[in-house]
Symmetry: C2
């Protein structure tokens, strides 16, 4: 049974992503902080780590890009999880009887329309989404519900009273699966993506020159994001994903070309493109 | 006294940013949702709106970019606010006597080192950072503290028992000031930034061609970020900030050139570059 570390409590969306990536039969090792997830993999405590890297509402998780650059633990797969918030009660609870709903304030804030339409239900902040289901199940009052994932309902034996109560259904998070070593990159890069990080000085045209390493070789860029380096006002860190594999000669040539123009250049991993 | 809408409760970091942008003498109009902030400005209820656009830990706030594109309310200024979490008690409270600390779970999670070093202080989730100070001040127990901004301490009359207890001091949020109309863009673009949004089809090299509109005119790009358009798998939205003003001929030429290659192209605003 593979061991996998993730940030958060049992029933968190990172647990759902872990199952999408590795199947249901897992030895789950929840950690409090992202850096502890990376440490767990580096030290050999776990075989895999799963970390969120970007969300359709909130953007990239810069902290995890920093850890990817510092730890150099390779990305071996990606997945997308839809963030669905469900109203979850005790097994005997009825939807009409709910008067209090517990969850993480970020989740509560993503369900404002639900609370407007159900003004007799009071939103109550809780430490995390999964933990709010645990709290509901530990009590006896069937008028108390939690807002959390379907996985959290299943984990703690709660009943989904109303599925998908989030305001914006276009709420997805992209996760990376990390391992301690990477397989050899495929020679055929079709349906592969590669993630890299590089820094460049901000002279006019420097990014344009960096992009030429890909454009001149017809390599398609799937993501690009600049991030200012604090304390170094004219330098930038770039995250870039492209379609292809470091096993391809054209990609090796592009990396060589890019390396001429960058101070830091790191390949974070090559992995099958998620559907 | 200028009226300004922002998302969150009184004492939120958006209030701090509003004061940085417009001075201390403001008629503050807090709103629950970002879209309500944009609506308040569009309908003329307020003269200004202040919205967070990116954070050094959490990346870009895509929702607000969407609203900027849909509402076309111009950006007229930018600012950066450092996110500092302070331990705030009642006026008679002492640091050594604190046993419970209330705050938004995101703030609590950014102060994990504080709670590790002070294991006799219990972290308790609350609906928001500013509101946690209000709650502390409404009680009589001097062993209860809140974790929030210095502005929230001042607003509710709390005492800062320990400043800056956040784990990562490199936590900054960038805010935009929006108005209903924009001044004429300056003819001299020195120390100006301009924010644009555009979409392009993801054929290899399409972004490279878009970047050429800037590189060929020696216009320096300060930020670039791609965002996949959901439901249109091969199309991307780009956020781009550059140094310069639409009052400059070279910028007008670049926009004309870029317009040849993009489906949607919107100038979100031109504003003085923040220090």
């Amino acid at each position: 049974m593979p061991t996998v570390a993730f940030q958060g409590a049992r029933g968190a969306f990172s647990e759902q992503a872990s199952k999408q990536l590795l199947g249901d039969d897992l030895d789950l090792k929840p950690r409090e902080k992202f850096i502890e997830v990376f440490e767990a993999l580096k030290s050999g405590d776990v075989a895999y780590a799963v970390v969120p890297i970007e969300n359709t509402l909130h953007g990239s998780v810069h902290e995890n890009y920093d850890h990817l650059l510092n730890y150099r633990l390779p990305i071996v797969a990606e997945t997308r999880a839809r963030i669905v918030h469900n109203l979850i009660g005790r097994p005997e609870a009825e939807y009409a009887g709910i008067r209090r709903a517990l969850s993480h304030p970020v989740a509560l804030n993503q369900c404002l329309e639900f609370f407007k339409a159900n003004s007799d239900v009071v939103a109550e902040p809780h430490y995390d989404t999964g933990g709010s289901v645990k709290t509901v199940m530990e009590q006896t009052d069937p008028s108390i519900a939690a807002i959390a994932s379907a996985a959290a309902a299943e984990l703690y034996g709660g009943k989904i009273l109303k599925p998908s109560i989030e305001d914006d259904p276009e709420n997805f998070t992209r996760f990376f699966l990390l391992a301690s070593t990477a397989p050899e990159p495929p020679l055929d890069g079709t349906n592969c993506k590669t993630s890299i990080v590089f820094t460049t000085s901000n002279t006019p045209g420097s990014l344009f020159k960096c992009m030429s390493a890909f454009a001149l070789r017809d390599i398609s860029v799937a993501k690009i994001e600049s991030r200012p380096l604090r304390g170094r006002p004219w330098e930038y860190l770039f995250y870039l994903d492209f379609h292809g594999s470091p096993g391809e000669l054209r990609v090796q040539n592009a990396m060589g070309h890019l390396g001429e123009m960058t101070e830091v250049l790191a390949v974070l991993g090559c992995y099958p493109q998620a559907a």
